[in-house]
């Protein structure tokens, strides 16, 4: 129950962060969506054993956090919470892929461990970028931009409604589970049977609420089409933002920066 409330507060904080004022916040949402998309494509396009060449991509989240005055620990905590799920995805990589790729001293590092590390870095980078996009643009503006770049309105409206009613549903869930908890006298309620009934009630309430919302929409002239309001401007700043970051991402993708630095360092050493 507490965790549901905490999650909702956490989600609201992400929304509030998007309402701040900064250079990044003031940019048109389309520019940020395009840059994030190019960033994600660049990161995931690397080979499965690539690790070192992914690290320079950290420049994007770091610069965004600095320019947008976002709390870095908040985002780090969010990403850390997702790490166990990422690890579960790559859990069997070290088991199935035992080809030794590198040696550190006497210890051989298999391809499985390297691909697991690569998966972890890539996930941290891409999830972090998605969080930063929502944290600097807002969920609504992000969804509306998705619609403008061609995602069907049906999906976008579903996402918007999901986001809107997530808070109401979380509130209802938390109240219902509190009522169950208070009458459980410290035990686990009536086990799975009472839990099943609780979930069933929530589903029915959600259904009824959906009907009431639909009635409210019809009462205000809804005919199946959501008319979105668009107030944005894609100007010179946005163009520079998109071109600048795209150039950086493509350069980082094409050039082997860590190798170049290594060569440079070796040159200086000689």
């Amino acid at each position: 129950m507490i965790s549901i409330n905490a999650a909702v507060i956490d989600l609201k904080r992400l929304d509030l962060l998007a309402n701040s004022n900064s250079l990044i916040h003031s940019l048109d949402a389309r520019a940020k969506v395009i840059v994030t998309f190019i960033f994600i494509v660049s990161v995931v396009s690397f080979g499965k054993y690539e690790c070192a060449r992914l690290l320079p991509f950290l420049i994007f989240p770091v610069v965004t956090i600095l320019l947008a005055n976002l709390p870095p620990l908040y985002f780090v905590r969010k990403i850390v919470l997702l790490c166990p799920f990422i690890l579960m995805v790559g859990l069997f990589n070290p088991v199935f892929d035992r080809t030794v790729l590198y040696h550190i001293g006497q210890i051989g590092i298999s391809g499985g461990w390297v691909s697991l590390a690569s998966l972890l870095i890539r996930s941290i980078l891409t999830i972090g970028a998605a969080f930063l996009l929502v944290g600097t643009t807002g969920f609504t503006a992000t969804c509306q931009t998705l619609e403008r770049v061609g995602i069907p309105q049906f999906f976008v409206v579903q996402l918007l409604f999901l986001h809107r009613y997530l808070f109401v549903l979380a509130d209802e869930t938390s109240r219902t589970s509190r009522a169950r908890e208070l009458r459980s006298c410290g035990k686990k309620g009536l086990g799975i049977s009472s839990f099943g009934s609780l979930v069933g009630h929530l589903l029915l309430r959600t259904w009824l609420r959906a009907e009431r919302i639909h009635t409210a929409m019809l009462a205000r002239g809804f005919t199946g089409q959501i008319h979105a309001l668009r107030q944005s401007h894609f100007g010179m700043y946005e163009l520079c933002f998109v071109l600048g970051w795209s150039l950086i991402f493509i350069s980082l993708r094409m050039l082997d920066i860590p190798d170049a630095l290594r060569t440079l360092a070796a040159g200086f050493a000689q």
Binding site: F139, R164, T215, A219, R220
Partner: protein, 250 residues
């Protein structure tokens, strides 16, 4: 101005499970009237209200809004004329921001650009919620949500305002603010409420529903003085008409 009139004739609604929610209900509300529909829980108030803009279809009987009879064909026009404010604002505020929510109806009416801006700003200013325009609805307090819900309806310039339990769940200050706001509206107004003091404040006329039928229809002050009638309909006098709980004086 005739579209400000509501005429309900022998209305009956039977739910699919066989429950007769309202039977043989008839009344006529004229331009500028402020009418309360009161009754105990389950008396059929909300069911009746939902018929007034076609959210529910009558099993039998007729509803006329002005010169127009309510049918499937006339629904869009009637829904613009009859603005409905729901009991739970969370059901009514479904768009991502207050501005977009208030603009939802006008956009469906075909307005655009500066017209939308003007109409949304006017509606929000009218309910004193202009400062909330950029906020998401889930960040608002109960009183703020109620005001914005009213703005969403006002933005469609309805001739008739129908409100289900407008003061429920509000703190005393927010309730008082809302009552002052509603008093200033010149629309034809129809309320359902258990807040009989609000009814006394705002409505010159009251209709009592009991088990789906009209038990009384007349001036609010006369109805609230009739203790036998109120008691038969499981109602009580408003607090302001009851004696002092300490000394018993009225």
């Amino acid at each position: 101005m005739s579209h400000h009139i509501i005429e309900v004739t022998k209305l009956q609604h039977v739910y699919p499970d066989g429950t007769i929610a309202i039977k043989d209900v008839s009344f006529r509300i004229t331009h500028g009237e402020s009418v309360a529909i009161i009754g105990a829980n389950g008396a059929g108030k909300s069911t009746l209200l939902q018929h007034l803009n076609g959210s529910l279809n009558a099993t039998s009987g007729q509803i006329r809004i002005g010169d127009t009879q309510l049918t499937q064909g006339t629904l869009p026009n009637i829904r613009r004329t009859v603005g409905m404010v729901f009991q739970y604002p969370d059901d009514q505020l479904f768009m991502p921001t207050v501005f977009e929510d208030v603009a939802f109806g006008p956009l469906n009416l075909g307005l655009s650009g500066s017209e939308i801006e003007r109409c949304v700003t006017e509606a929000l200013e009218r309910v004193g919620a202009e400062h909330l325009r950029a906020k998401p609805p889930y960040h608002l307090s109960g009183g703020e949500k109620k005001r914005v819900a009213i703005a969403t309806v006002l933005a469609m310039s309805p001739d008739i305002l129908v409100m289900d339990e407008p003061t429920s769940g509000l703190d005393p200050f927010a309730r008082r603010q809302l009552i002052s706001l509603l008093r200033d509206f010149k629309h034809t107004k129809i309320f359902t409420s258990h807040d009989l003091d609000m009814v006394l404040d705002l409505c010159q006329r009251t209709i009592i529903l009991h088990e789906g039928t009209v038990m009384a229809d007349g001036p609010t002050s006369d109805i609230f003085r009739n203790e036998t009638l109120l008691s038969a309909c499981r109602l009580e006098k408003p607090f302001s008409m009851q004696g002092c709980p300490v000394c018993g004086r009225t």
